[in-house]
């Protein structure tokens, strides 16, 4: 599968009162088209920061210092995809990418929804932001139908006026003239048709996501919905424009286990239907085993291991991954749980070289000197650890 998005050497810092937090220190990985990639790590290791950095949603006091986020964007005119570095683009282009090519869903669904707007308003917003041409198409069809029905002269002239407005909008959605029209008090009601069109689309989308009685649900407000419903609405907002990449930042961590299973099924089904790639961020290894094809393990702002899921679970190569897997309680196992000794480091003054070396049972002198690079040890199984580097060197010689 070709690579959809490639992240090279991404560095992100946060400038706080206590010092500079080196949240991401040279992250390298890629997401292939149509795959579900898991991003695993403890709380605070930088998973969310990675996601926000991809979408360039890092706000002061945070700053993306260096690196590249190369996305293969489908050009509108041509058929081919050409790669662009998202970190170099204008904010305007990023706004076209967000919610459109790349979408994100968040952990806390009740926080992600705006309490003063109805479900309809919030889901429609995605359509109104990015799918104006398609909406115009639908509206124009509607206007044609109304015109054919035939009515008074007054009505027909209004319809014709609306049609010309929408024809113009279809050609050039951000036309200056249209912006002016939105200000005029009576004329601005022309937007009503488009809003209704967006509403129809939202209802369709909610139905596809398995929400019962979507016509009623769209009228409700976020605080009137249950946790699972809220998360489905958030997913709807993200999927409205059929993005090529969906970033899911711990979407099920706050839900009951049964709801969690439903949401995971939903997300899996979406990949089948919409051919979306998914970056699934979680701290739960069980979810990774169930959902993902490949997995990336992060620790303290470093990527330590990248592998297909069964290879990762069968034969974890990095000491940290091994520690994680050993810490998972197994039913029926009577032995004491083995935890990783030590504590997660303070990212203001992180350990030098490999950031895991203070807690590693296999630590060597060179581990504290330089950060080990990700090297392919087995087929598609990468690890950033000097133990395995030695082995490859041995194999080479």
């Amino acid at each position: 599968m070709p690579k959809l998005i490639e992240i090279k050497d991404l560095k992100t810092n946060f400038y706080t009162y206590e010092g500079i937090v080196h949240a991401l220190d040279g992250i390298n990985f890629s997401i292939r088209e149509g795959e579900i990639l898991g991003l695993v790590g403890e709380t605070g290791c930088g998973k969310s920061v990675t996601a926000l950095s991809i979408l360039r949603l890092i706000r002061p006091p945070g700053k993306i210092e260096a690196g590249e986020v190369v996305l293969r964007l489908q050009d509108e005119s041509s058929e081919s995809k050409h790669p662009i570095n998202l970190l170099d683009q204008t904010e305007l282009l990023m706004q076209k990418v967000r919610g459109n090519e790349i979408s994100m869903i968040f952990q806390e669904a009740s926080e992600a929804l705006n309490p003063v707007y109805s479900v309809n308003d919030q889901v429609s917003e995605s359509f109104l932001l990015h799918r104006q041409k398609e909406l115009c198409q639908g509206v124009l069809k509607e206007i044609e139908q109304d015109l054919r029905k035939g009515s008074s002269f007054f009505r027909r002239s209004i319809l014709n006026m609306e049609r010309s407005i929408y024809l113009r909008m279809r050609g050039n959605p951000s036309s200056f003239l249209l912006a002016i029209l939105t200000f005029l008090p009576i004329v601005r009601s022309y937007k009503r048709r488009m809003v209704n069109q967006a509403r129809t689309e939202s209802i369709k989308l909610l139905r596809m996501l398995g929400i019962p009685h979507p016509e009623e649900v769209v009228r409700r407000y976020p605080h009137e919905l249950s946790g699972g419903m809220q998360q489905r609405v958030v997913i709807a907002m993200a999927l409205a424009c059929s993005p090529t990449l969906l970033i899911a930042d711990e979407p099920t961590s706050n839900l009951d286990v049964t709801i969690q299973a439903q949401i995971l099924d939903l997300v899996r089904g979406l990949r089948e239907k919409l051919k979306t790639s998914i970056l699934f961020i979680t701290h739960d290894l069980g979810v990774v085993a169930e959902m993902c094809e490949r997995a990336v393990v992060m620790y303290a702002g470093h990527i330590v291991e990248v592998a297909p899921v069964d290879s990762l679970f069968r034969k974890p190569l990095h000491p940290y991954t091994q520690g994680l897997l050993e810490a998972v309680p197994r039913p029926g196992c009577k032995e004491r749980l083995r935890s990783i000794k030590g504590n997660v480091p303070n990212l203001i003054s992180p350990p030098s070289g490999c950031r895991f070396h203070p807690r590693c049972s296999f630590v060597m002198t060179k581990c504290s000197k330089r950060k080990p690079a990700l090297k392919e040890i087995e087929k598609s199984h990468f690890v950033a650890c000097y133990i395995h580097h030695q082995e490859t060197e041995k194999n080479d010689t």
Partner: protein, 342 residues
């Protein structure tokens, strides 16, 4: 919704009852002789002081006095105002238009400017514009209203030779307004001038309004600005803002559509109190600029011990406050879908 309004109106009566007790308590601080003097319009009647005390039950037990007082109140008889030389209720309606005019021009300015500055300040937090507006706000909040008004008068009336004069209208305009040619529909100068199609009077009235409105606005604006700023900062830190950005909305849309609507909710509550509390500022402003409105009347009443007028001030403001609160609560329920009227 209807039951809610009815219930709130009943609550209004309860509070009014409480206020009437408070007012009456203040009234009873005066001696019976002082209170009898209220009913005297002519010096000769001083002889009949004891008789007056008897007729108006001013030496009866407290609850009896209260009964008679409320009875008179409900008839619309709040007594005679010395300073206004007419019954209190009539005086109220006589002085009301000037005050309404002042409030009409000040209140929208306070709210609009306060919200706008607060929003700008929050969006550009910790940058120069934020520090400037915050400093101005805190200075505005610390200004003594009467001193500020007088300083403005000194500069714009004194130094700039009558550019922005005190009082409501110039002498020439005043004469015209009181003549037969000018129809007084509302007795509010600006509106009447508009309705009479006499623009020079409108301009004259506006010129006289500039300084009082600035005086009133500056001090209150600071409060609205601070509330809006902190409320906006809180809204901007919430999850739905990140979601909106992740959807690809422009920063302007995020601020206007998502943040502001949420941030306005606490501001609505404060605005209600502000409107009701404008009375204090109005008293001072009208006194300084010699605008003959409610505030001017009440200030003179306090100095000249015009008891019925003072009590009218307390009652009027209490009613205004309760009604404003009701309106604010309804507005609240309209804006915030999480609020249900219980």
């Amino acid at each position: 919704m209807k039951t809610y309004i009815i219930r709130r109106l009943l609550l209004l009566f309860v509070v009014l009852f409480g206020v009437s007790i408070l007012v009456f308590a203040i009234l009873s601080l005066f001696s019976p002789e002082q209170r009898a003097s209220v009913f005297i319009t002519d010096v000769k009647q001083l002889r009949d002081l004891q008789e007056i005390i008897q007729t108006h039950h001013l030496d009866a037990p407290i609850h009896v006095q209260y009964y008679y007082w409320v009875k008179a109140l409900l008839r619309g008889d709040l007594g005679w105002s010395i300073t206004a030389q007419r019954p209190v209720l009539k005086a109220l309606f006589y002085f009301l238009p000037n005050t309404i005019e002042l409030a009409l021009f000040s209140a929208p300015l306070i709210i609009v400017i306060g919200i706008w500055l607060g929003s700008v300040s929050a969006v550009h937090q910790n940058r120069l514009i934020d520090h400037t507006t915050r400093t101005l706000a805190i200075i505005g909040w610390s200004l003594p209203t009467f001193w500020f008004g007088l300083m403005l008068l000194m500069i714009f009336y004194g130094y700039f030779r009558g550019l922005l004069p005190p009082e409501a209208l110039s002498t020439k305009a005043n004469l015209y307004v009181q003549s037969a040619e000018f129809v007084r529909y509302t007795r509010i100068n600006t509106i009447d001038a508009l309705l009479n199609w006499k623009f020079w009077i409108l301009l004259d009235a506006l010129r006289h309004l500039v300084l009082p409105v600035i005086t009133l606005t500056v001090v209150q604006c600071a409060l609205v600005m601070r509330i809006m700023r902190s409320s906006m900062l809180e809204a901007l830190g919430r999850g739905y803002i990140t979601t909106a950005r992740a959807k690809g909305a422009s920063e302007a849309t995020v601020v206007k559509r998502h943040a502001r609507r949420n941030a306005l909710i606490p501001v609505v509550t404060v605005s209600g109190w502000l409107i009701a509390g404008l009375a204090g500022g109005v008293v001072i402003t009208e006194t300084i600029f010699s605008r003959k409105g409610l505030g001017w009347w009440w200030a003179r009443a306090a100095v000249q011990l015009d008891i019925p007028a003072i009590l009218c001030a307390v009652l009027f403001n209490a009613i205004l406050f309760v009604v404003t609160n009701l309106v604010v609560d309804l507005l609240y329920a309209y804006i915030d879908p999480r609020v249900t009227l219980k």
